[in-house]
């Protein structure tokens, strides 16, 4: 770090410049004569040869010219002419997305005897004056040639050196990116996925519709905004004067995937992938009006599970099998459970074997380019995406801890197909862009208008409506989840409508050495979100036998669930009435100047102001807002104050020697982004008016014995209307429903989400410095350093959490009060108000930073042979992991020692410290009819990071699973116990197993005597080599090339050659130890008194003050009884193996 800083201090020379717009390219330069005198009025024309589109301008009084809004790609023919001078022609110019090509002309008078000057452009993608910030660009030839088995543009964005995994960049959350297509925002701004249709595991656009992709990490062009991660821009293809197109088909299945993992044959359930479609582009009116259309269909049937049900009668559990069995075993048998449910409850929980997850999408794009005249070009693009995916059930418990081991398939858990859900992502979008030039090129204007409608909703897997049945989680003999049936708890009623209208206008004026641009970028968002988590209730049983006992009409109190949780609708009108319907506006204005008046230097400077504004009045919860929570009053139903957010930025590009052999570039400035709007939307719906929460261990499965499971929401709720109105009026509600009394429901409680009054959208201060150097052998080297400091980062805190009451015996961390429901026991209650479970407030912190250093080498041998390689070191710290899909998820995912409101800064969840990226393509044409193209991508990186935490709520803060472990040095420092009656290990043996685990763990072995840190453990290095082979057979028909192309894409090639290579290793058990209780007797003094009238034992805490003895943990064995002895397990899913995809394509 110190060396880098020293370098930067030396390198920090004059600041300078910038990048271009996000949908087009441009060119500029100066026209002089041989004596370097400016030539005003010279004609510069650029003709996009394939479409005949002409762009042109005359040089101004100072000899400068600008041409804006040019089509990306080429080739272009560029001419400069002036009366009395020889015409200069430059051929074969290709323009990249966002590029400003600088071309100076020195015209030679006709008297001079010279031949026509023809220059062929050989522009370097790195060494050029419009490169300022960190960015990557992928052009259509790379998109066609590099391997991408999923045919997903993210396969290319991940080749950005500073990328992390899963579409994250620079160590920041992927929800902080901005994705634009043809200049219009295409984000899923609600933030449930970084891209539209991302929840369906697909992309909104076919690769065949994409011309180029650019990833900007530090743009100093103020047109770019609305992100603090990366700006990812793509432009779609355009039609040309040639009618051209392509028809294609790609497929892969389990027969084309690895059978072995690390030497062991590991069966893979069958799956199937098909992707097919066509694209067609051409003229409607030659040189004037063009069309491009693309339609693509993708159908996948993916394995629903990796670990299959254990066959009936098998006495041992094979490595790829679950503890659940395909029989009637009273503790593990799923066959028996299914029959039981059908016969007794008329409920078919679905199947548990031989089923797949469907993933399908249809994508349509139509684009029209209209050359109104030389000065005005109009583009209209529309697209439709319909996608869905069947998804395994969430492992979350919602507002309580999730079931141990989760609901997703592992060697413990096999959930019934009814608990899988289908997410549907449908989108329609239309964008129009008008590029205009006025005043002989002195002024240009770029207008973009866009509208997108996103319609996301959930169903049960298979596309059926979600039944009104509770979720039931059942634990197996080893204390981990065995199975789950009933709908995923987050699926009933779940839907999200988003409408986004965008209007951008950028106006530029070109005056001598200055390009002034003013502009406005505005987005109007409208949301309608229904999210009724846990509305059908969730039962958890400690064993299948317990469930049978409780679900049998003759049940007794011996078999009650270990936990019952429900969030019921408390407002008249049912689930629909709980919709979060609201609108917001983000206005952006900016002014900037690009200055080229210093020799070999470009400078840009400007300021942008963004103003997030909220348009909807929300229902107030006057009762909650009247509470005094440790001096704070909540603002339920209140938006943050509207305040402008300023983003000044300056950038430079300095051609040190004037020959583009050494280039220094960089800049500094503020980026303002959005938050995922779901975090705000949660505050709209979780206002304490719409929902109430209820936990109990005393609710039988069939309360009334009517053959239907208990469903609080179905129970006539006589007080519901009062509930709403009384709370809104500021009166706490008294519950009169007899069921509340029967089953020990203490009082109405609700989860509250609110936003701090002075909450601001994320802002970061980002600085980058880079040097690009032409090296021997035609290699271009780049060293790039990016530093980002959070100005307004997002934190979620529980305003209802009382400060810690004691320290935990055993390791000394803060300990919170119990969750006794009776407000009379206030001294021992961790909550400030007993009417509220949690009051999560969206707030800011200035903690958090990221920096990265990249070394990159690239070489273009020729147009058909290019190789790039880069290494990046990244550090990223944050307070809250910034990727939760609910406010509660953000809060509960912050593993901590000092309490959830004081979790401090630690490694970011999205941090990938070391990353090597290399890619290249080579194409060879031969024998007049053949061409072979090979491409490769390699990404080597540190594995995913994670936190070692306890399973359970050790510090009694109300959130299970978020307490970082203390790593014991000796047996005396931890109290261990057996897992259950089957566990025949002695305490010494359990310690020996834990001690051995710590010793072999590369992280824990260094943390003895300390707490584990958040996200500080990293899975082993992952090598990923992908190869592509394209074999073309081409021939001419009427002078036009026709090509038949066969392709093979090999994903994870290393794994093909060695089943022990290319593996992905995941943490075997991040929740390493299970917390089972505190030691008796209570030792912590006066607070450790039994609490009178404490109400029933809650599953999220204890009815006694938690200031008790030392915590006791179990260190569970593996499902087969063997010791957990390795920190990591191989990913045995499809992504952990090699896969081969074949394709056939016809191009004309």
């Amino acid at each position: 770090m110190r060396k880098i800083l020293l370098f930067l201090l030396l390198a920090a020379a004059p600041m300078a410049v910038w990048a271009q717009g996000v949908t087009s390219a441009s060119m500029s330069g100066k026209v002089t004569d041989q004596s370097k005198s400016e030539i005003p009025g010279a004609n510069i024309t650029a003709t996009h040869i394939p479409s005949g589109t002409q762009y042109g301008n005359a040089s101004r009084v100072d000899g400068f010219y600008n041409i804006q809004g040019m089509r990306v790609g080429g080739p272009y023919r560029i001419k400069a002419s002036f009366v009395g001078y020889r015409e200069q022609v430059i051929e074969n110019v290709y323009l990249q997305l966002g590029q400003n090509l600088v071309l100076d002309f020195a015209l030679v008078d006709e008297a001079t005897q010279l031949q026509e000057i023809v220059i062929t452009d050989n522009r370097d993608p790195v060494l050029n004056s419009d490169k300022i910030g960190a960015s990557s660009n992928f052009v259509s030839s790379q998109i066609q040639r590099l391997p991408s088995i999923g045919r997903d543009f993210r396969d290319f964005s991940s080749l950005t050196p500073q990328a992390g995994g899963n579409f994250s960049f620079g160590g920041r959350s992927n929800l902080y990116n901005n994705l634009t297509i043809d200049g219009a925002t295409q984000n899923n701004v609600f933030g449930l996925s970084p891209i539209p249709a991302g929840q369906s595991n697909t992309t909104p656009f076919s690769l065949d519709a994409i011309q180029e992709v650019t990833i900007q990490l530090s743009p100093y062009d103020l047109r770019q905004g609305n992100f603090t991660g990366a700006g990812v821009s793509a432009v779609t293809r355009s039609g040309t004067n040639d009618l051209s197109g392509s028809v294609y088909y790609f497929f892969r299945n389990e027969g084309l995937a690895g059978k072995k993992i690390d030497g062991a044959t590991t069966p893979i359930p069958s799956f199937d992938f098909k992707n097919y479609g066509f694209r067609l582009g051409g003229p409607i009116i030659k040189n004037k009006l063009f069309f491009f259309v693309n339609a693509e269909f993708e159908k996948r049937a993916d394995p629903a599970y990796t670990f299959a049900v254990r066959p009936a009668g098998s006495t041992t559990q094979a490595a790829n099998q679950t503890q659940a069995t395909d029989d009637n075993d009273p503790l593990t048998g799923l066959a028996g459970l299914r029959k039981f449910l059908i016969d007794n409850y008329n409920y078919d929980p679905g199947v548990y074997k031989d089923f797949t997850r469907a993933i399908e999408s249809q994508r349509y794009v139509a684009r029209f380019d209209y050359n109104i005249n030389q000065n005005h070009k109009l583009t209209v693009r529309g697209n439709i995406t319909n996608a869905f995916q069947d998804v395994p059930p969430s492992s979350s418990g919602g507002f309580v801890g999730g079931p141990p081991g989760g609901r997703g398939n592992t060697n413990n858990v096999l959930s019934f197909s009814s608990s899988y859900y289908r997410i549907n992502n449908n989108q329609k979008s239309i964008t129009a862009e008008l590029n205009s030039s006025f005043g002989n090129g002195l002024f240009t204007n770029n207008l973009v208008v866009g509208y997108s409608a996103f319609r996301d909703f959930r169903q049960d897997a298979g596309g059926i409506n979600t039944p009104s049945f509770p979720t039931v989680d059942i634990l197996g003999p080893n204390g981990q989840m065995l199975t789950s049936f009933g709908p995923d708890p987050f699926t009933p009623n779940n839907k999200l409508d988003q409408d986004v209208i965008q209007i951008n206008d950028f106006f530029s004026a070109y005056l001598k050495n200055h390009t002034f641009t003013v502009g406005t970028a505005n987005e109007l968002y409208s949301f309608n979100n229904v999210f009724t988590q846990v509305v059908n209730g969730v039962y958890r049983y400690n064993s299948l036998a317990d469930f049978y006992g409780d679900a049998t009409p003759s049940q007794t109190a011996n078999f009650r669930p270990a936990q019952y949780t429900i969030q019921y609708v408390g407002v008249p009108g049912g689930a629909a009435a709980t919709a979060a319907k609201w609108s917001a506006l983000q206005l952006g204005f900016f002014a900037q100047d690009e200055y080229t008046g210093i020799k070999n230097v470009k400078l840009t400077a400007g300021v942008r102001v963004d103003v997030p504004t909220y348009l909807t009045d929300l229902p107030q919860n006057r009762y909650v807002n009247s509470l005094n929570l440790n001096g704070e009053q909540l603002r339920v139903g209140g938006w943050p104050q509207v305040r402008p957010l300023y983003s000044p930025r300056v950038g430079f590009n300095w051609d040190v020697k004037g020959d583009r052999s050494t280039q220094l570039r960089g800049g500094t400035g503020v980026l303002t982004g959005r938050i995922p709007f779901v975090w705000l939307s949660n505050a709209v719906s979780n206002n304490g008016l719409f929902f109430g929460q209820f936990n109990s261990t005393n609710v039988p499965f069939d309360v009334t014995g009517d053959g239907f499971p208990y469903n609080y929401s179905q129970t006539p709720y006589t007080a519901s209307s009062e509930f709403y109105s009384n709370l809104a009026a500021g009166t706490p509600q008294l519950i009169t429903n007899p069921l509340d009394v029967n089953y020990g429901r203490p009082a109405v409680t609700a989860g509250i989400n609110a936003v701090a009054k002075d909450f601001r959208f994320p802002q970061v201060w980002r600085t980058n410095m880079a040097v690009d150097q032409k090296l021997p052998g035609g290699i271009v080297g780049t060293f790039e350093w990016i530093f980002t400091k959070d100005i307004n980062a997002v934190v979620m805190r529980d305003a209802n959490l009382r400060p810690a009451v004691a320290t935990l015996q055993g390791d000394g961390r803060p300990l919170y009060g119990a969750s006794g429901a009776n407000r009379a026991i206030i001294a021992n209650d961790r909550r400030l108000s007993g009417d509220i479970t949690q009051a999560l407030v969206l707030d800011n912190t200035d903690k958090g930073y990221q920096w990265s250093a990249t070394v990159q080498l690239s070489k273009n041998f020729n147009q058909n042979f290019q190789v790039t390689a880069a290494y990046t070191y990244t550090d990223s710290r944050e307070v809250n992991p910034q990727s939760g899909s609910t406010a509660g998820g953000v809060f509960s995912s912050q593993a901590n020692v000092l309490g959830p409101n004081n979790s401090g800064q630690s490694y970011a969840a999205t941090l990938v410290p070391h990353r090597v990226v290399a890619y290249g393509t080579y194409r060879k044409e031969y024998l007049k009819h053949f061409a072979t193209t090979i491409g490769f991508t390699y990404i080597g990186s540190t594995g995913n990071n994670f936190s070692y935490t306890y399973n359970g709520d050790v510090n009694s803060d109300g959130t299970a699973g978020n307490d970082l472990i203390y790593v014991p040095r000796t047996k005396e420092e931890i109290l261990l116990t057996t897992t259950n009656a089957n566990d025949n290990r002695s305490i010494d043996q359990i310690w020996q197993q834990l001690d051995a685990f710590i010793n072999q763990d590369p992280y824990l072995s260094k943390r003895r005597g300390k707490y584990a840190e958040r996200n500080a453990a990293f899975a082993p290095w992952v090598n990923r080599l992908n190869l592509s082979l394209l074999q073309d057979f081409y021939f001419d028909v009427k002078g036009k090339r026709q090509t038949l192309q066969l392709s093979a894409n090999l994903e994870n090639a290393l794994n093909l050659f060695d089943s022990g290579a290319g593996l992905i290793k995941n943490a075997a058990r991040p929740q390493l130890l299970n917390f089972v209780g505190y030691e008796q007797p209570h030792t912590a003094g006066s607070l450790a008194q039994p609490v009178a009238n404490a109400g029933p034992a809650s599953t999220i805490g204890f009815p006694w003050a938690a200031t008790t003895g030392r915590p006791i943990y179990t260190f569970n064995t593996n499902a087969d009884g063997s010791a957990l002895s390795n920190s990591y397990v191989n990913n045995t899913g499809v992504t952990g193996r090699w896969q081969l995809q074949f394709g056939v394509r016809y191009i004309f």
Partner: protein, 354 residues
């Protein structure tokens, strides 16, 4: 230009100062001494005709090769990690046959203590408490055959095991239903019902007694405390003459001490007997008895323990001479089968607790 350099340096200095390390962590203050909490376990093998047993508590062997009708000599103290409320089970108790099989779930040679109806429920042991575990019942106790059949889904009918009084055999509910007449069925007794969803693999099971020591009167010079447990599986309440009578009969002269009259099989009366699966637990009081004339060993009275099924018309078992010391606490366990012969004959274990 210098100004720009200076500004750059300032900016970089600010950035460096912004690079704080992780701050959500404090130094841990661990307790470096292990737990002081222990509980005390005394193991008795009351399995007639079975193997000698090894006993384990929390995976530690606390009793080695305890023969049938014998008990461990004194308690084994085992370190506990006793949790607080919420009934978090934590102490595992297991018996393992040194040879042969005893049924059970861990393996054919194992039996485990189960605090509930299924194998996942462990024992909750309290600090400093004393527990007596008696391995009871027979290695031949059949696993109840479920009439709760997932195929017939007759979930209302629970499992049951029946005892045939005449032979001591135990039969399933299906076998019981197959008996030829009501008269035959009247000659049996239900051991209890097994609720649907429970597990019972048959064989040996555990009886847990929580030992609450009696208070001896001040100046006691003649009394000891004795608890009697009928662990004879086929000594059920009907007909009455199969119940157990127990007394201590002085070898030389003097009054008998009546220990039990018409006592039922303890597992059938123990608290927690319903549901009938798995382990049982109960408390049985120690009774103060005058068993000595003074504090000297020589002043202890010599007794024979006598067991009978017919109020001592016939004596089923007579023990070797036993003596009881002043202030000491004993458990006497009647073992074997009514009508049993050889190693299944009625016998007794006498263990001293302190």
């Amino acid at each position: 230009m210098k100004t720009i350099h200076k500004l750059s340096a300032l900016a970089l200095a600010l950035m460096v100062s912004a690079c704080d390390e992780n701050d959500g962590i404090q130094d841990a203050v661990p307790v470096t001494t292990g737990t002081n909490y222990t509980a005390n376990f005394l193991m008795i093998n009351a399995v007639p005709g079975g193997s000698s047993l090894d006993f384990y508590v929390n995976g530690l062997k606390t009793g080695a090769s305890v023969d049938p009708s014998k008990g461990q000599a004194g308690y084994a103290s085992v370190q506990l990690t006793t949790p607080g409320l919420n009934s978090i089970a934590n102490t595992s108790v297991r018996a393992k046959a040194t040879s042969g099989t005893i049924g059970g779930v861990l393996g054919s040679r194992d039996a485990i203590y189960r605090a509930g109806n299924t194998n996942v429920n462990n024992m909750v042991a309290a600090p400093n408490a004393r527990y007596t575990f008696i391995a009871i019942d027979s290695i031949t106790r059949p696993a109840p055959v479920r009439t709760f059949s997932l195929n017939s889904l007759n979930v209302l009918a629970a499992d049951a095991t029946y005892f045939v009084r005449a032979t001591g055999a135990q039969i399933s509910r299906d076998q019981w239903l197959a008996l030829p007449s009501d008269a035959e069925r009247n000659k049996t007794v239900s051991i209890g019902t097994v609720p649907a969803g429970s597990t019972d693999v048959g064989g040996v099971r555990f009886l847990l007694l929580t030992d609450t020591y009696p208070t001896f009167p001040g100046g006691n010079t003649t009394q000891s405390a004795i608890r009697f447990v009928n662990a004879i599986p086929n000594s059920y309440s009907l007909p009455t003459n199969t119940r157990i009578y127990a007394r201590l009969k002085p070898v030389v002269a003097g009054a008998n001490i009546a220990l039990a009259s018409n006592a039922e099989y303890i597992a059938s009366v123990a608290g927690g007997f319903n549901p009938s699966v798995g382990s049982r637990s109960t408390t049985t009081a120690f009774t103060l008895r005058t068993t000595t004339t003074g504090t000297l060993d020589s002043e202890q009275i010599e007794y024979n323990l006598e067991l009978s099924t017919d109020n001592f018309t016939t004596i089923s078992y007579t023990s070797p001479v036993v003596k009881f010391a002043v202030g000491k606490i004993y458990t006497i366990v009647a073992t074997g089968f009514v009508g049993g012969t050889g190693n299944r004959a009625i016998s007794a274990a006498i263990v001293q607790h302190n």
